[in-house]
């Protein structure tokens, strides 16, 4: 994969497959500490320690990917951050959800470009109207957050019918590109 945004998309798809209704995506580009951190937290079904070990092993998971709904995404992301001289952490509890964090130094030549971050978020938000997304993007001291819950509330009973309309596409685009 050639964009960090695509890794994020892949990890969020895992969360969706795990039945998450609330997904938080934090991207922190901290140039003073020379570190990029991506955290994705979901309230999906979570994994038992035994499943978690398998989820990180590409050879164990590919064969059962359809049944277990875990593919190569997690090992890919881990490989990416580790090959960039960073680190990877995953915490999961059955019934509670999963938190995935990866980080790497920002002066690293192997890091992928961020990619089309905002458009990827917009596509995720619009394609999953019933999932609450909380996105935060921090670049040095500037932090921009976006939460879909107030949006749903403002649209009221029409939220479902309007969510994928052209008007909302424009609106989401404007809101997300504010970062």
């Amino acid at each position: 994969m050639y964009e960090l945004a695509l890794f994020m998309l892949d990890l969020v798809q895992n969360a969706l497959t795990a039945g998450a209704t609330y997904i938080k995506i934090w991207l922190d580009e901290d140039f003073t500490r020379n570190r990029l951190t991506l955290t994705i937290a979901d309230n999906g079904c979570g994994m038992a320690p035994h499943t978690l070990t398998r989820a990180l092993d590409p050879f164990m998971t590919t064969k059962t990917s359809r049944r277990k709904s875990i593919g190569l995404g997690l090992p890919f992301f881990r490989q990416l951050v580790e090959s960039c001289g960073g680190g990877f952490k995953i915490k999961s509890r059955p019934g509670c959800g999963t938190v995935i964090t990866g980080w790497y130094p920002l002066d690293n030549v192997d890091q992928p470009p961020l990619g089309d971050w905002n458009e990827t978020l917009r596509a995720l938000i619009q394609a999953n109207p019933h999932v609450r997304f909380y996105c935060a993007h921090r670049r040095n001291q500037r932090c921009v957050t976006f939460d879909t819950l107030p949006v749903r509330r403002a649209l009221g009973p029409h939220a479902d019918a309007l969510w994928q309309s052209a008007d909302m596409t424009t609106w989401f685009r404007e809101q997300l590109s504010a970062s």
Partner: protein, 130 residues
């Protein structure tokens, strides 16, 4: 915050929503894009975005969403088009053929044979001529 803009969007869309309510008896159209790791590598994100865009351009009443891998990694990117309980799967998609796909399948109610995927044992794929 510009939540006020949302209220405006809501008011402006009132007419369209009423029309949608009248169509509610018809079976629901739904497009599901396969968004597994291999799908993403083959450009599923662009397909998802393009489908959403063309659905809006054509003014279709279709829900666009995503799912995990369909399990057919060699013909990604893929999508499944549902009409009620009917399901047709398309593979080897390209962004520039999405409009043709939607016009053929949803507007004209025909099947775009060149990109159709028949999954063995998947009864949902049985073509319905009705």
């Amino acid at each position: 915050m510009t939540l006020d803009e949302l209220r405006k969007i809501r008011e402006r869309a009132a007419a369209a929503l009423e029309q949608r309510a009248r169509q509610a008896q018809e079976p629901e159209w739904k497009i599901v894009v396969s968004m597994g790791t291999s799908g993403i590598l083959y450009g599923a994100r662009e397909i998802l975005k393009k489908i959403m865009e063309e659905v809006q351009n054509l003014g279709l009443n279709v829900i666009v969403t995503q799912s995990g891998s369909f399990g057919l990694d060699d013909i990604e990117p893929m999508c499944a088009i549902y009409h009620g309980n009917e399901k047709v799967v398309y593979g080897n998609l390209k962004p520039d053929m999405i409009r043709e796909l939607l016009e053929t399948h949803i507007v004209r109610g025909q099947i775009l044979a060149s990109h159709r995927v028949v999954v063995p044992g998947d009864v949902g794929n049985t073509p319905t001529t009705a």
